[in-house]
Amino acid sequence: MRLDSGGLIDRTRPLGFAFDMVGVRGYAGDTVASALLAKGVRLVGRSFKYHRPRGIMTAGPEEPNALIEVREGSQRTPNVRATVQEAFDGLDVRSQNAWPSLGFDLMAVNDVLAPFFGAGFYYKTFMWPPAWWERVYEPLIRRAAGLGRLSGQHDEGRCEKAWAFCDLLVIGAGPAGLAAALAAAHAGADVILAEQDFRLGGRLLADRQEVAGMPAAEWVAATQAELAALPNVRLMPRTAVFGAYDDGVFGALERVGLHLADPPADLPRECVWRIVARQAILAAGALERPVAFPGNDRPGVMLASAVRAYANRWAVAAGRAVAVFTTCDSGRAAAEDLVAAGVNVVQVIDARADASAICSAPLLRGAVVTATRGRRGLRAIRLRDPGGPERWIEADCLAVAGGWTPTVHLACHRNNRPLWREDIAAFVPAPGAVPGMTAAGAVNGHATTAACLADGQAAARAALDALGRRAPDLALPPAEDGPRSARPLWAVDAPGRAWLDFANDVTTKDVRLAAAEGYASVEHMKRYTTQGMAPDQGRNSNLGALAVLAQATGQTIPGTGTTTYRPPFVPVPIAALGAGGRGKGFAPERLPASHAASLARGAPMLEAGLWYRPAWFPRPGEATWRDSCDREVAMVRGAVGVCDVSTLGKIDIQGPDAGRLLDLVYTGTFSTLPVGRVRYGLMLREDGFVMDDGTSARLAPDHFVMTTTTAAAGQVMRHLEFVTQGLRPDLDVRVISVTEQWAQMAAAGPLARRLVASVLDGPLDLGFMGCAAVGVMGVPGRVFRISFSGEEGYEIAVPAGRGAALFRDLCARAETLGGGPYGLEALNVLRIEKGFVTHAEINGRVTAFDLGLQGMCKAGDFIGKAAAARPGLTGPAREQLVGLCPADPATAIGAGAHLFAPGARIHRETDEGHVTSACYSPTLGSHIGLGFLRDGRARVGQEVRLVDHLRKVDVPCLVTSPVFHDPEGGRMRG
């Protein structure tokens, strides 16, 4: 029911939204919860286990009951708290966890069966048969204990990730946070003030009080304006700090577009911030706690602080006849506020017999609530007071004040435990728990506004000290003060189910049962009862459950301990954590210079890491990829082919000791390589296995350029940097990646020389494995005579920007010679025919010996030499690189097939090797493969049995040399 006046709502801006298809009216400044309460909606959800009716209990993000889904279609967002979601025109809100509808919930049968559904029910009941778990129990439990529904569609909503840096992060903008931010801001520090609410002020908005002689909300507005005017202050409302991490890093979630009726398309829904703060002040406040008494879960039973906030901030009476049940002075203050706001307070029940007798409403002292009544919402409460027998009184709202629990979570994220304070019956942050973070205000156990303002300012002074700044001389504004009395009452001693965890339906009986069954440790009790494991993460129930457990086990509360506080403090959508990491954001595209030209020729693309490389270049009349591939192979063997090899890693190595560096990282010797020559190199890891292979060309006495495989470019670069910086800083040499700076085109085939000569400015006079700096059609470039195909081959390097033009030109010229471009498939066939290895063979478990390249290992030291000589890494027991030809040349064989001795039982214990690469060789007119076979080099000419269970191939193969084509290398050398 909306009160006639007051509240921080804009009555000139009415709005309307839908709750389960029913229209609800509100005003700008309303949350969904405040508008629902104003309309008199009491039933907003169902509990998970018993499907009991649930109403709004709180006025903040700690809400355990009022979880809703907002928006529809791919934008549907479940598990939003109605107490956090700002109402706007046209918002579509649905209740959740009720089936088929909120009013009529079939699953409420669980409540009737409640005696069978005690703590540990799932563990005890759904035990047998095991096979039923996946098919029966789990879907059943999920259906019954369902949270919101996902849309099932691809989430098109945008989220963002961002960084922020500051001298001081103030977490929470209540009185302590505002006072701290003000002091630090005036000292010139860069301040970020983060507040989870859409409005700064905290309790100053919810309680009727004055600060600096004006209504508290006015003081908040003035302070906010003062802060906003300072260039060194960043105000971040709607931003919940969810984690305190190492080295002053904080995670925060900002609601950016969730509260807007019509957000701009490019506005993110939410943003995950990583805030790096030199100092931080935790002014997260405290949460009021409920009292466990029978029937305390009925809609209409709310926290007194929430009823007070709805009256003062939103001008909403949460009921027509409100009773207040309190164990502390703040509940009494709430009652006074309600009366002043015009709410009908029918009864104040103070559990303390010695509490103040001054009250603006009928007062009972030393009394408790022992039961409630009302099917879908509260209608009456039963009172027990020392003066007479228990009796019922009518009330449709019961405001419960059980004392305050400081919000210590962030102070405990570094695996610290909070400290117990007996005087306020609560845990507070341990000083210094998070380095650089100071707690201030209600989170420190302070109960009055004056104390919170003073504590906030003191915390700022300490932070400024640490930052080396002088604190300004700011007077504290006068505010409400005075002693506060509170007496904990965790659970009323009365028969019936008394709830602790409202979302997960955990009662005091469940906790006592856990203790009785031996789950007496708080961590065990939590898991056994599921207390604290609902979306509110036990914020309303942890301390109460702990107190009941302590009582049941005869221990003290601090002796019983607390569960571990872990980030995130608020739920963080995966979509927000992974913002920017979807689709191409997850795997960006790397495109070689020839990409557009390849697409123009209709080439399908293959992904090689992040690179996109043309697979083949189809021509009219070619029906399958094999037609194109076979033609391209024949073209290279018979005329000339052009291939963009820019994706290979290219590393520029310069300095007087460049040769010595290469001697260390390659198995071969490079310091003796003459200028103008290229050498093949094999690179080992220090453990003796092959890391990569490639070539290095000597352009000048102190200048080499190394190529790596596409896949290992990053790894090799890291390795070279490690060797030069870490192992041999004495070497005068520098390395830098130039992969992006140079485009490189391969031309291969008997006509390659003619093709390459036609684009060079000077004569082409290179022997096999020669290199030179040359002009390429007026551009300074390089040419290397190397071959990955077994034919006479050249690679021309030009600055990356010229690569596209060079590729087009080479292709056009090649076509006049009967050649053309070839793709990755043909490249692969060409290298298999020639027995050249790639990372299909160099898979991290292969040694130089396995490849038959032990002859390339020099006598002197190189990385991997010592370990490669270990026993077991050489000899006939090793699987060695061989070629494989199926007995029937038309039988396709595939990589991954396994090799067995003829006649052997087919079993993993008799496995003698496997196929690493395979293709159809148009040159040989046969399927061929490369693979590793135990003692393979000694078995050339013998037969093995190839078995491929996946492709259903079982074929005898001839073991051959891995070099199928031109084993003498005459074609390559020209």
């Binding site: 190492d246 380095p435 220090e686 890291r718 940097e721 910086q725 870490g726 800083p729 010592a866």
Partner: protein
């Protein structure tokens, strides 16, 4: 986690690639006994407390650095360039 790169200043750990203990900086001589190579390649302490390990500022300045940190408190005591830190113990 913020790592103080000696060249770039404190940077987020996502900019760095982790390698392992800084033992890798003390490569045995080529003719060292097999036991020395075994220790170098395979034997690592697993301290609860102070440790020194190698990080590569791959998304930054490409420096290999030795970071001194505490595995219990996560506190980072400092960082040095690998070439300067290799002789320290």
């Amino acid at each position: 986690m913020r790592i103080p790169c000696p060249l770039c200043g404190p940077r987020d750990r996502r900019e760095f690639t982790y390698m392992g203990a800084d033992d890798f900086l003390r490569r045995p001589a080529a003719d060292a006994p097999a036991e020395a190579w075994d220790a170098y390649l395979h034997l690592r302490d697993n301290p609860a407390g102070a440790t020194r390990d190698l990080w590569f500022h791959e998304a930054g300045c490409q420096a290999w650095i030795v970071v001194s940190r505490d595995t219990v408190t996560h506190e980072i005591a400092g960082a040095a360039l690998a070439g300067e830190g290799r002789d320290a113990t």
